[in-house]
Amino acid sequence: MLRGLYSAASGMFTMERKQEALSDNLANAQSPGYKKDETVLRAFPNLLIQRIRDFDQAGNGSVSGVPQLPQSMTMGELSNGVYAQERIPSFEQGTLVQTDGTFDVAIDDQAIPAQEVNGRDTKPAAFFAVQLPDGTVGYTRNGKWDLDGNGNLVTSEGYRVLGANGEPIQVTSSIRREDLQIDGNGRLLANGNETIGQIGVAIAENPLELSRLGGNVYQAENPLAFMQEENNPGVSLQQGFLEQSNVDSAKTMTDMMMAIRSYEANQKVISVYDTSLDQLNSVGRMNG
């Protein structure tokens, strides 16, 4: 029984998964607010292997020559290969790039202090809240917005941006687009100093608990609380800036090369097993 054959096959399969995640990151190297995913590989849980058939066919009495044991005996641990356990998004701040667009808004949440969650230092992350087509709330870092035909503030995916009251933000047509201002606390100001809305900024204490929905949006199991202006933990909004994707294309390419070589190495192992099986098949062949 050639157990390593399956371990090597699982290695190839896992490297494909990893390559997919890297390709996805690379494809989104210019999507505003995109957060890269890092693949975590894990060995399949090790199995204990035990000797069986220590008894004769009738089930009584030992096979001659085999030591007498009260129960079946453990031979050792067996590794069963590897699998892609999870993809962990990295919520590192992306670079802020000046665009001067009225509806380009970037979140800078670097100043939020890290805190301990489940015995692990975790950095909370701030998100814009958006309304998904099914009515639920999603969280995004994409600050590339515009007004749709009805005057709703929407992200470039078409999701409506929610205000701190949980309602979509609507800008009436009497307000000129270029007069709109968004201050560091997320207040939407028109005509100088008149507040017409508050952009909803939600803070995820442990952003790893969010699940990626795609379209630059994450979902939370329990709705996140909106940040209130009086207890801002260190978030500031920058109008006229866009947060770029935090993908490092040079590192992604290097990781891809690593993945492909590891894939190749696993293929070689399979080839070696194949050679062994081939030799096994030739045992006893006549006219060899």
């Binding site: 190839m12 490297m15 494909e16 998964r17 390559q19 997919e20 995640a21 890297l22 390709s23 996805d24 690379l26 494809a27 989104n28 190297a29 210019q30 999507s31 505003p32 995109y34 849980p45 699998y83 892609a84 356990q85 999870e86 993809r87 962990i88 998004p89 667009g101 994409n142 590339k144 515009d146 007004l147 749709d148 035909g149 009805n150 005057g151 470039s156 995916e157 047509s173 000129r176 687009r177 790893l208 608990e209 969010l210 699940s211 990626r212 929905l213 795609g214 379209g215 630059n216 294309s249 992604t252 390419m253 891809m256 492909i260 894939y263 190749e264 293929q267 399979i270 080839s271 194949d274």
Partner: protein, 282 residues
């Protein structure tokens, strides 16, 4: 299934579209009244794979259960950048430039009879009115007539000298004798369109608002509001240049082309992986 091939080839298409948009901006760097387009990417929706047979066995798992995989990127939103282009002095009396918001209204000759097009391109010239000899329209090079505040073509009599004032009013002065200058009933009609997403590009640097895009209960005037005289400032003898910034476009072109290259390499990596898998049995 190895989806990295599809992820990367999909990304190539999206980056190609970005390069196309940038190239169009660069090509129109000298087009009067051209407004640049801004392309942005968006991530494709992800799907969830249940790769955990027994969740209690997943020691050290940080994210919610399951494996969420994405499928790359696509073109998200292409916005029109409505910033003012630079002013170019031409000295031609019928070259008009709007400073700030607003669009000229142009009646079409070939399109539907009542279709009004909107443009920022103010290079007009006198064109004889076929129905009324001795009078002239202000026309674009493609034949569209400049419209007044009521949506009628502007008509100028050959016996008068014409001056277009900065508030859009047309001053007429009889060529014969020393008569007083009078104001025409017509003025250059400028509409304010707050939401450029309502506009559809019909080529020739002109836009239309499709009636079907207007929500039920609203009418065209809510979206294309006629500005009162003096609200928009018109400079005669100037043209508005394109608002394309070549520096920015070239930088965009470079970064998109590099990312295109990287994704093309990712396609070749995915191909290599398939090749490796095919080589298990030689």
């Amino acid at each position: 299934m190895n989806t990295s091939l599809y992820i990367s080839s999909g990304a190539l298409q999206a980056y190609q579209q970005k390069i196309d948009t940038t190239a169009n901006n660069v090509a129109n760097v000298n087009t009067t009244g051209y407004k640049r387009k801004d392309h942005s990417f968006s991530e494709i929706l992800a799907s969830q794979m249940n790769n955990h047979g027994r969740a209690n066995n997943e020691a050290g798992h940080l994210t919610p259960e399951g494996l969420r995989v994405g499928y790359g990127t696509r073109t998200g939103l292409t916005q029109i950048d409505m910033n003012q282009g630079q002013a170019m002095e031409t000295g031609e009396p019928f070259d008009l430039m709007i400073a700030g918001n607003g669009f000229f209204q142009v009646g079409t000759v070939n399109g539907a009879a009542d279709e009004v097009r909107y443009t920022r391109d103010g290079s007009f010239h006198l064109s004889p009115n076929p129905d009324n000899p001795g009078s002239y329209h202000l026309a674009h090079a493609n034949g569209g007539y400049l419209l007044d505040q009521n949506g009628n073509p502007i008509e100028l009599d050959e016996n008068y000298e014409v001056k277009i004032e900065s508030n859009g009013q047309i001053q007429l002065k009889a060529k014969a004798g020393q008569g007083e200058a009078i104001l025409s009933d017509q003025r250059v009609g400028i509409v304010d369109i707050q939401n450029p997403h309502m506009l559809r590009n019909v080529g020739d640097n002109q836009f239309v608002i499709d009636p079907e895009t207007i929500p039920a209960g609203a009418n065209l005037a809510d979206y294309a509001r006629m500005m009162v005289a003096g609200e928009a400032e018109i400079s005669s003898g100037f043209l508005e240049g394109s608002n394309v910034d070549l520096m920015k476009e070239m930088t965009d072109l470079m970064t998109s082309q590099r990312t295109y290259q990287l994704n093309a390499r990712a396609v070749s990596y995915a191909d290599q992986m398939i090749g490796i898998a095919n080589n298990i049995l030689k």
